[in-house]
Symmetry: none
Subunit: 204 residues, 4 copies
DNA sequence: TATGAATGAGGATTCATTCAT
DNA sequence: GATGAATGAATCCTCATTCAT
């Protein structure tokens, strides 16, 4: 994996509808499995089987196993970007409360479906430069898209990126704590309250 | 064959100096490699070679490859606990500023040497229940030991665990952002200032 | 790692001609080698090589090394059953002499090609419960199919299973003694005569 | 195992009491384990541990693992021989009933403690010429010692070896059937009766 | 395009045997 | 004689990748 001495193999970027569907199926099923089970615990065979396809076909559409993850990641980032754009489209400019609630809800929601990918990527981050690069791009795009909205909506757009990033991280910490209750009996209501209060004072 | 007739392989917990040294060498080299390269990118042979030993001896001291990681993790947690206890021993009771600075410095410092392990564990977390359990214990201990100090030193010990956890997470976010600057040009001074201010208002 | 998340590996039960041939080749070569050299003295690599295949393909068709032996054994039992049924089809009902001669010849013949498997199994019997179970099924089937014929053909069908089993064992003792003359100079003709006389008085 | 290209290594045949005890302990525990678990399922370490000794010492007294089995086997044969001699010492000459009962009881008894060794040896027989040779010697001695008694006690000593061997085999078949009831619901009383009757008519 | 059989290098683990102490 | 740590070849099995059909 860590070696990137891959001779360039022509990989299909298909235009036929059937092909596109096949490719997407692999992407969808593949990323889903990788995230649920962990990159190293899923075989290309597993992916093909789960997608209802044959072993070999995977390599028509993707250079190798890693390619599936990388491209899925990319799609993910794009989808996220569009999700954000759409979601925040209706937020009234200057209405911070509105922006804030939207952000909080959006991240909570997003977290539920996508958090695992972050953790999985952390683990892969150090072992593969290509993954590290893509991961960075992913985050950059995520932060940037929200910061962009923040700049538009907020009255205090200085240090937008820093503040946005911090806000996101803190909200994610909260989500994480709720979903992975390492310490039992944590008072989640209290934590939510505190989180909201922190974010508000940070972004206002 | 005949797994059923195989009693659980006894793993040496040696008391002899020679043995202890060997075991420690494996632990040290092994965890170092795993963290640098990633668990799945290091073979037991790599570890043995790097420790200047032969393949087989690894299994004299450890049940399997995972065992090395798990035990290294455990040692880590203990070292951390002792580090915290020692570090905070001199903090004046009731002196919040003192407590806070110690915490901030401690985590910054700690993070520099140990954050890789966290990321590696994140990636392994979902694929292996045993690792998940040990990771949880690790964090529980960390949070609890700091919360314990907090209770002793602070005037407002309510929700100590929640607040401590949040504070640690937020400081970690900051450390993480500094060490792995996904987005370039982030104003680290600004982020540090904001982080400190958040933590202060959270813990006071 | 993460055994728990590993669904049971599906093993191909192929219907394509190519596949069936490959599988049979492995079975044939594998059981042959195991019986000639002994289960523990044959590696899966040996089997693959001898079958003109690569290591990996073996595990496409068989769960593990033991699976090869177990399935070969099963095939053996079925072949034996059909052999018996066919062989005894023409025996005249009530004609004991006819039945007896058929039995004696059949076992003598059968023994020549299959007794190695029995010995190999004896050795494996105590070390592996799965092998023990399959071996038992094998024998059960063998005894039962001959007993069934005995009941049909004989005038004294009481204790058919016991008598059949004893007869078979005694004939096998004879075969064994002939093929593996531990003590040289044994008078085989005498032993054959005595064996026949014992069986006759037992079954009549 | 199957290779016998063993350079001659001097192996201690100790005369000191302490040494003899150690050697016997290895022999005793080693053969016991090998027979209970199967030769390939017992490691030299298991044997050393079970004997309360260290790994290395085994190789002071025995050439290799196989040597333990072979020598144990030899001792076994001798013990058996002495057991037989002693047991039959008091049998009245010419009293066939007495001889027969002694034989039947003796084998029944012997079977209980030693049958496993036979099965284990069957499995090893083909994979190693040295084992095959020793096994043959073992059986030869066993059969011969009983035949010798038979000759002394019986009025019809012709074909003593053949008859003795057959008798022993048949009694063993019975023992085997009782201890390994492959087919359930076998009428053991009936089988015992038949076995006795067969043996009587064979030996008289 | 699609299939799935085949490849084979790689990796975890075992264990008979040796050797420094 | 004893110990038990150390060796390393051997073995089972996996899985990314290729290829004949």
């Amino acid at each position: 994996m860590a070696k990137s001495t891959k001779r360039d193999k022509p990989v299909n970027k298909p235009k036929q509808k059937r092909s596109i569907e096949t490719r997407n199926k692999i992407l969808e099923v593949g990323s889903m499995l990788m995230l649920k089970e962990g990159y190293h615990n899923v075989t290309t065979d597993d992916i093909a089987k789960a997608a209802g396809l044959s072993t070999g076909i995977v390599y028509h559409y993707f250079k190798d196993k890693k390619d599936i993850l990388l491209i899925a990641l990319d799609q993910h980032a794009n989808a996220l970007y569009e999700g954000i754009t759409e979601k925040f489209a209706t937020v009234t400019e200057g209405n911070f409360e509105d922006f804030f609630n939207t952000l909080f809800d959006f991240l909570l929601d997003y977290h539920k479906q996508a958090w695992v990918i972050h953790e999985e990527l952390e683990g892969l981050y150090h072992s593969d430069p290509e993954i590290a690069a893509t991961t960075n791009k992913y985050w950059e795009k995520t932060y940037a898209s929200i910061a962009e909205i923040y700049v538009q909506k907020s009255a205090k757009p200085e240090h937008a990126l820093e503040k946005t990033k911090m806000a996101i991280d803190i909200i994610e910490d909260f989500c994480h704590a709720c979903m992975n209750p390492i310490v039992d009996h944590l008072d989640q209501d209290f934590m939510r309250q505190e989180t909201i209060s922190i974010i508000k004072s940070l972004l206002t």
